[in-house]
């Protein structure tokens, strides 16, 4: 979670304790829901059935500081008590250690609105599930500094990962790395052919290390470019969601989806056009050099345009809630919700943004 945001949101619910984070550009959101069974004792509190459970946020660094050295914690700490004292304005973390030593940390917190991303895995056309190790081995081929990666589907059911090259960068100067994974490396593959999405690698790597450490398979739900990609991990006592905004395709409706040429690339074979005579002769031709539609700048870099779409107002209330841990009837936090408007909105685009409508379409509730 600390790889995503600087603040840790704690939201106790009836179905467990949810820890959440969001990044500053609102393009990444993660939540870890620990079921009551995960704990020796779980009391979400709340005076009555109608009062909202208290939630708060704390500085990520302060919280992490309490659990600084995992190996020594494992050796010395017997129990950990987390206590939320709203009236004292303190989040208490108490470590009961060996030899009768008790370490009590009092963290200041801030009250906050519910942190809620808008997404629905059911609405995603494509879904992949793989052991974390396979994905970790795939990601290692990309440099640690790489910002964005494109996940795509190719012929023969192969799945590809490719580094995303921004349009501003010169294509003739940037190295492109692409990795192909066979369908049988995955536990399940249900993908729309020719589909692809581009997302930020940094936050994904964070989840991947967690998944590897806990030996859980990772499920990836995705849809069209621009719609968020949802990574989930499931366990009997833990549900993890990581939601990342994806780069949207400006012309994905008019052209066959061929951003980055993913769907055009044949699975690696030996018959590439390696005849450079024609290159030497035709050095002036720009044919084939401008593949891929111009995509809007990835939301991370674009300042979010001001949201003032009155006709969306009613639709907002009908938007899907997060699947798990949703407190029924609580409208999602509007400010955050607009993230996933922001990621599909393209400034200056004429006419209604088709992708935007998809996100805002009516639902009959879930």
């Amino acid at each position: 979670l600390s790889r995503i945001g600087d603040e840790l949101y704690l939201e106790p619910t009836e179905s467990g304790l949810s820890l959440r984070a969001v990044n500053s550009s609102r393009s990444a959101f993660a939540s870890f829901l620990f079921a009551p069974l995960f704990f020796q004792l779980y009391e979400p509190g709340g005076a009555g059935p109608d009062t909202e459970l208290f939630r708060c946020k704390v500085h990520m660094k302060s919280f992490l500081g309490v659990f600084r050295s995992l190996p020594s914690l494992e050796k010395s700490v017997g129990k950990c008590l987390i206590l939320l004292k709203p009236r004292a304005s303190r989040l208490v973390l108490q470590l009961h250690c060996k030899y009768g030593v008790t370490k009590t940390h009092n963290l200041a917190f801030q009250e906050c609105e519910r942190l809620q991303a808008v997404f629905d895995t059911q609405r995603c056309a494509s879904c992949l599930c793989a052991p974390a190790r396979v994905l970790a081995e795939a990601v290692v081929h990309f440099p640690p500094t790489l910002a964005e990666v494109t996940l795509g589907t190719g012929p023969g059911g192969k799945i590809s990962l490719r580094n995303y090259v921004e349009d501003e960068a010169e294509p003739s100067k940037t190295m492109v790395t692409e990795l192909w994974l066979a369908e049988d490396e995955f536990q399940s593959v249900a993908v729309a052919p020719g589909s692809h999405i581009t997302f930020c690698l940094k936050e994904f790597r964070g989840l991947l290390s967690f998944a590897e450490a806990s030996n859980l398979p990772l499920t990836i739900h995705f849809d069209e470019p621009g719609r968020p990609v949802i990574f989930t991990l499931d366990d009997t006592v833990l549900e993890v969601h990581l939601v990342l905004a994806t780069l949207s395709d400006l012309e994905s409706n008019s052209q066959s989806p061929s951003t980055n040429g993913v769907s055009h690339l044949p699975a690696p074979s030996d018959d590439f056009a390696d005849d450079l005579e024609s290159y030497m002769a035709a050095m002036e031709t720009s044919e084939g050099c401008s593949e891929g539609p111009r995509s809007p700048t990835f939301p991370l870099c674009t300042p979010r345009p001001a949201k003032s779409k009155p006709q969306q107002q009613e639709e907002e209330e009908e938007e899907e809630e997060e699947e798990e841990g949703a407190v029924p009837g609580t409208p999602p936090h509007k400010k955050f919700r607009s993230l996933f408007f922001g990621s599909v909105m393209t400034p200056g685009r004429p006419g209604p943004a088709t992708a935007q409508e998809v996100l805002a379409e009516d639902s009959d509730g879930e």
Binding site: A273, D275, L276, C289
Partner: protein, 284 residues
């Protein structure tokens, strides 16, 4: 113009990767020259490179299981490509357990060296990782810029001390000064000196030995006539020397340098299958 090559043996792949890593430490961009038998990595002494130049050559047969090359024309059966060695280094970094690595010159959107790494996987088919490294094709009219530099008419030629020792000395000196003086004589003595306003440090090496240079025009006699004790020195950029020493991942079979008094220092590092020459000009 075509080029395809394949490495299957892991030891060869490892060795090749180490050579590329060394080149990557010495040059941000360099020229790859391909001939039927050899590969050359060339850095010419343009001002942009700080005047340093490099010539590295290796026999393809020692590394590649398959190697097919067709140059620009029958009578000029060579290919010159400009590329960023760091890219190739990165591509090979995660290929250390590969079943095979294929390198091919392609031209999809622009000329590229496509490195295709076939990795073992638990599934029925292997995992394939491809890296497209953009390259610039150097036209034939510019090939003359990249000819093998001749061995300069040196004043002293001497074997280098153990590179690891030399490296740690130079690294410490780098913190104190931007320039280093290398001086050596024909009696196997070498000094590395730095001098600043506050401090001067000299490290002395002896019993290094001087390589015998049999020259065609009988210069040998003029060498013998020289004073064996007199030092020839050159002041060079310490960073360049440090880069050269830091990039050496394996101890060379032979390492020596030729000093032209106040002009240039010519380093020659020989391994079994690859030779590297690096020229660092003296600063005024």
């Amino acid at each position: 113009m075509r080029f395809r090559a394949k490495i299957v043996d892991l030891a060869c792949l490892n060795h090749f990767s180490r050579i590329i890593n060394t080149i990557a430490k010495l040059a941000k961009t360099c020229i790859l020259r391909l001939t039927v038998c050899k590969l050359y990595f060339i850095l010419s002494d343009k001002v942009a490179n700080g005047g340093a130049s490099m010539w590295c050559e290796l026999s393809q047969g020692n590394f590649f299981d398959e190697f097919q090359m067709e140059g620009v024309a029958a009578e000029h059966n060579e290919i010159y490509l400009e590329f960023v060695p760091e890219n190739l280094s990165r591509a090979l970094k995660t290929a250390q357990s590969a079943k095979a690595v294929k390198i091919k010159l392609t031209n999809k959107h622009c000329p590229c060296l496509r490195v295709a790494v076939e990795l073992p996987s638990l599934s029925s088919s292997s995992r394939i990782v491809t890296h497209d490294i953009p390259v610039g094709v150097i036209p034939r009219r510019m090939w003359n810029d990249f000819r093998e530099p001749s061995v300069p008419d040196f004043d002293v030629s001497i074997y280098l001390p153990v590179l690891k020792t030399m490296k740690s000395v130079v690294e410490r000196m780098k913190n104190l000064s931007n320039f280093i003086v290398i001086e050596a004589n024909l009696s196997g003595e070498m000094n590395l000196k730095i001098e600043t306003d506050l401090v001067s440090v000299t490290t002395h090496f002896k019993d290094l030995g001087n390589p015998p240079w049999a020259s065609e025009d009988g210069c040998q006699s003029s060498v013998q006539g020289r004073d064996l004790e007199s030092m020839a020195e050159a002041c060079i950029d310490i960073k360049k020397l440090q880069q050269l020493l830091a990039g050496q991942q394996v101890n060379p079979t032979k390492a020596l340098c030729n000093i032209v008094r106040k002009r240039i220092v010519h380093f020659i590092l020989l391994h079994e299958e690859v030779s590297l020459q690096y020229f660092i000009p003296a600063v005024a």
